[in-house]
């Protein structure tokens, strides 16, 4: 549990530490840290960057939720990358093929994406449950496979069409597109941001208010205690991975439905791995993940601003890496301090030597 302070302190410390580390790195490379920071923050002032950050964060948020679902029960769904790209591809094909009244087209497209994501991870889930294959290995291999499957699907022999030197699926009809919130010259925030927020709420409710969520968290915290408590481990692995894959399947949709309207060769890649980092950063907490996604997107977008002032933009990669590492360390430190404090509090209830006898080694053994 822990207080608000215990929740906010570690990420704040971690970010401060990462900033410090990057400042030192910049100094060594002969740039001015202050100038760099100024350029990064200053870029936010320009509306286009701010809108870009929110739009990218939307996708990051969804992939991170997918990763967090797995993390909660110690499943590493490395295959989010393949799931969201394949799902976006299939959704683009399905959405482009059907013309339905407005709204319905979007729903069908989203269902197609979720189903594809779930089906793709389902292969890994079945392999794990029935053959004991580590989901890490199988999902990595499925990632590689997904590239081939996508290339096949969007070839002009199948569903793709050649456009200049690019190849992609046919454009989605108007009824399958999701309008955004226009900010004039600054750009348009994807309408899918609402879907992402709804997924966040749904994730919280699922984890904290349902029997399924409880069993999921119990399986993650102690598989043995969960088994003794009647949790069916195989079923949990299967269902959790399927949900994770379905959520991952939605991650490509903000771009697809809100801006590109086609799945082409330049469809964004790499979100899957970002999602793992963001989920770590947000500690599997939906609000934390939102902040993590925004921070990550901001750092990504500030590359451009750094280039403009002549600071190597690789500094952003260093910063992202050091933030994740420091967050993990900081949370572990705070967790230990908190547990220590709690034990002391519990111990204070009945001080040694007074009242009922108590096992003397309990504190040491825990």
């Amino acid at each position: 549990m822990g207080s608000i302070r215990a929740k906010l302190l570690p990420p704040a410390l971690a970010i401060a530490f990462a900033v410090l580390l990057c400042a030192v790195t910049l100094l060594f490379s002969g740039s001015s840290p202050l100038e760099a920071l100024g350029a990064m923050v200053g870029s936010l002032g320009r509306g286009t960057t701010a809108v870009d950050v929110v739009n990218t964060a939307t996708s990051y948020y969804i992939v991170a939720l997918a990763a967090a679902l797995g993390f909660q029960m110690n499943l590493l769904n490395i295959g989010i990358e393949g799931q969201y790209r394949l799902a976006a591809c299939v959704a683009a094909i399905v959405g482009g093929a059907v013309t339905l009244p407005f709204g319905l087209g979007v729903v069908v497209t989203m269902l197609a994406a979720a189903a594809t994501g779930a089906a793709w991870v389902g292969i890994a889930a079945l392999l794990k449950v029935y053959r004991g294959v580590s989901e890490v290995i199988s999902t990595i291999m499925l990632n590689a496979l997904s590239f081939g499957v996508i290339a096949y699907l969007i070839s002009s022999d199948m569903f793709g069409e050649l456009r200049g030197n690019n190849i992609g699926t046919p454009y989605l009809p108007e009824s399958s597109r999701v309008p955004g919130f226009s900010f004039g010259s600054s750009g348009t925030v994807f309408g899918m941001v609402l879907v992402a927020a709804a997924l966040g709420v749904g994730y919280w409710v699922l984890m904290n208010r349902t029997r399924f969520g409880f069993e999921l968290r119990a399986s993650g915290k102690s598989p043995t205690a969960a088994a003794a408590g009647g949790v069916n481990a195989k079923k949990m692995i299967l269902v959790t991975l399927l949900i994770s894959g379905a959520v991952a399947g939605l991650a490509g949709l903000p771009e697809l439905l809100g801006r590109d309207h086609t799945f082409s060769l330049n469809f964004p890649a790499g979100y899957g791995f970002t999602g793992l980092a963001v989920a770590l950063l947000g500690r599997n907490n939906p609000v934390g993940i939102a902040f993590g996604a925004l921070l990550w997107a901001f750092l990504d977008k500030s590359r451009l601003a750094l280039d403009n002032v002549g600071v190597p933009s690789e500094i952003v990669t260093i910063m992202q890496g050091s933030i994740v590492l420091s967050v993990v360390v900081a949370y572990e430190l705070v967790r230990r301090v908190e547990l220590r404090a709690e034990q002391r509090r519990v111990g204070g209830q009945n001080p040694p030597g007074s009242g009922e006898p108590r096992p003397v080694s309990a504190g040491g053994a825990v």
């Binding site: 549990m1 904290n208 208010r209 349902t210 029997r211 399924f212 969520g213 409880f214 069993e215 968290r217 119990a218 915290k221 102690s222 043995t224 205690a225 969960a226 088994a227 003794a228 408590g229 009647g230 949790v231 069916n232 547990l339 220590r340 709690e342 034990q343 002391r344 509090r345 519990v346 111990g347 204070g348 209830q349 009945n350 040694p352 030597g353 009922e356 006898p357 108590r358 096992p359 003397v360 080694s361 309990a362 504190g363 040491g364 053994a365 825990v366």
Partner: protein, 548 residues
């Protein structure tokens, strides 16, 4: 585990051991060690003469292990001094202790299975004699001394438990230890191996080695030790001469005088069958060796059936098969006439089985989660903590408060993490939880293992009350006094079969101990002897039996 015996005064003076030898091999004075919330050792005094086997006795959680970790440099005392062979020393790490000639053999072996015996011994001590011929010669010589007869180039994974233990001893000898701490060395051994180990210890003692022997098996202590120091609630309560003291007197020193009794003498057994197990058979994976062999068992309403046995004889498997955590290969499990054989753990729990697991931290609790969340575990499909697919947080919190009050769980609130509670309070929480929801059968595995005397009495009381209200209880325990005191019927399990029945009204711990080793029927006459040949009431083969 304790062997609780009726209240009586201790027969021995508490005080600093008097040492007759000029310079004691080890002398601990005024050692105090505090952990957050608890004092693990307070003002401990211990003197060990050179060339003796000195036993350190105490119940689980009395502070033996902490004390030995201090002597071995794994932990630093907050107060007090350590003297080794007359010189005061400060150990910052086990390496310091080894330099001073103190070595420790842990209860759980720390060997690399895929290395040979020789490699295991040399690993980390290459500086002493290198890794060549000189080292091998030295190891062979010491191996003879430690009674290790196997080829040094064998892989450790090919060795049996007793030989692995010898390798551990060899490791500390090779590093120059003259004072060896043995942490419950007999816990993993069968009786013949114990005898062989003792023979080796006697020979090595004659060679001038000093042993600190940690145990709570009183008969073994009396068989091997030259002196016994008893530790209770973190402090030394006295020393005794094993030649003159009886096991009972030692037990009294270990547990103090405010002993509760587990006895339930008014029978409440009905003829309503609750649990009926028939022909239950479980084979180990990949082999035909049965872990459980055609177990037939009936538990009636209001009856406590105790299962006695040396750990590793199928108790864990029996409990897990009845709980549905393991699938039996043959046989049926019925609860109140309903066939549960093909049902999973959840369905069995819903049918009315409560389960107090052997290892509360691994199987009973989510340590990071608050108490109210732990109340939900195992009950997530039932009121008051859930309704259908939704949890009822309010219901869980209210009911946790009830358990905390009714079962006297000492906690500042229901929002603290379960891992912050002491073992006894964790166990009370589990017992309280498992007795919720009106179970018809309670499966209790070592329900009072590692809990303090106060919590033990409370848990016994709750089990007795539930039994009086018609609960059927399947009790597995290594504490023979607990078994004899609580049970209406005792069955002895050996090699996966129920080999004997005993009547708790007439059987003695000694008879039961003999039956548990497969010696045959439980004798009802020819009362117990105290000759050290059988396990005492405190039999506790291994605290982690059944880990997989």
């Amino acid at each position: 585990m304790t062997s609780p015996v009726p209240e009586e005064g201790t027969g021995h003076d508490a005080g600093v051991p008097s040492d007759t030898a000029a310079v004691p091999a080890v002398r601990l004075s005024g050692i105090t060690k505090r952990f957050p919330g608890v004092v693990a050792n307070s003002d401990v005094h211990l003197g060990v003469r050179a060339g003796e086997v000195h036993a350190l006795c105490g119940e689980n959680g009395a502070g033996k292990s902490t004390l030995m970790k201090i002597l071995y440099g794994m932990q630093q005392p907050d107060e007090g001094t350590i003297e080794v062979e007359g010189r005061e020393v400060v150990f910052r790490s086990p390496a310091d202790a080894i330099d001073a000639g103190v070595g420790m053999v842990h209860q759980h072996f720390m060997l690399a299975d895929n290395l040979t015996v020789l490699e295991n011994v040399l690993l980390g001590a290459e500086k002493l004699h290198g890794i060549g011929r000189r080292a091998r010669a030295r190891v062979s010589e010491l191996a003879r001394r430690a009674g290790l007869t196997v080829d040094l180039s064998l892989l450790v994974e090919e060795l049996g438990v007793a030989d692995r233990q010898r390798v551990e001893i060899l490791k500390v000898l090779y590093r120059g230890a003259r004072i060896v701490i043995l942490d419950e060395p007999t816990a993993v051994l069968v009786p013949q191996e114990v005898d062989e180990l003792f023979a080796t210890l006697r020979e090595m003692r004659a060679d001038g080695y000093t042993f600190l022997f940690i145990s709570h098996k009183l008969d073994e202590v009396r068989a091997i030790a030259d002196a016994v120091t008893v530790i209770r609630r973190g402090t030394t309560v006295g020393t005794a001469d094993p030649r003159t003291v009886t096991s009972r007197q030692l037990a009294e020193m270990m547990v103090g005088s405010e002993l509760p009794s587990p006895e339930t003498r008014v029978s409440s057994v009905t003829d309503v069958e609750v649990l009926r197990v028939e022909g239950l058979t479980l084979r180990s994976e990949g082999s035909e060796r049965p872990l459980l062999d055609s177990i037939d068992l009936t538990v009636r309403a209001g009856e406590i059936v105790g299962i006695a046995g040396v750990e590793g004889n199928g108790q864990v498997e029996l409990v897990e098969a009845v709980m549905g955590m393991r699938r039996a290969h043959a046989g049926t499990v019925r609860l109140s006439g309903v066939d549960l054989t093909s049902k999973g753990t959840m369905a069995r729990r819903e049918a009315g089985i409560g389960y107090v697991p052997e290892d509360r931290t691994r199987h009973g609790l989510l340590l990071d989660e608050p108490l109210w969340s732990n109340r939900i575990l195992g009950f997530q499909s039932r009121r008051p903590v859930s309704s259908g697919a939704w949890l009822s947080i309010e219901g869980a919190r209210t009911d946790t408060t009830r358990i905390v009050e009714q079962f006297d769980v000492r906690t500042p609130g229901i929002d603290v993490a379960a891992g912050a509670l002491s073992g006894g309070n964790q166990q009370k929480l589990i017992v309280g939880r498992e007795l919720s929801g009106d179970p018809v059968l309670l499966i209790a595995s070592h329900p009072t293992r590692g809990v303090d005397v106060g919590a033990q009495a409370g848990i016994w009381e709750h089990i007795k009350t539930a039994r009086a209200n018609g609960l059927a209880v399947l009790l597995v325990s290594a504490d023979l006094d607990e078994l004899i005191g609580l049970s209406d019927t005792i069955k002895v399990i050996y090699g996966g079969r129920l080999v004997a029945d005993a009547d708790p009204r007439s059987v003695t711990p000694e008879d039961l101990g003999a039956a548990m080793t497969g010696a045959g029927e439980v004798g009802t006459d020819d009362g117990g002897t105290d000759d050290g040949g059988t396990d005492d009431g405190g039999t506790d083969r291994s605290t982690r039996g059944g880990d997989r």
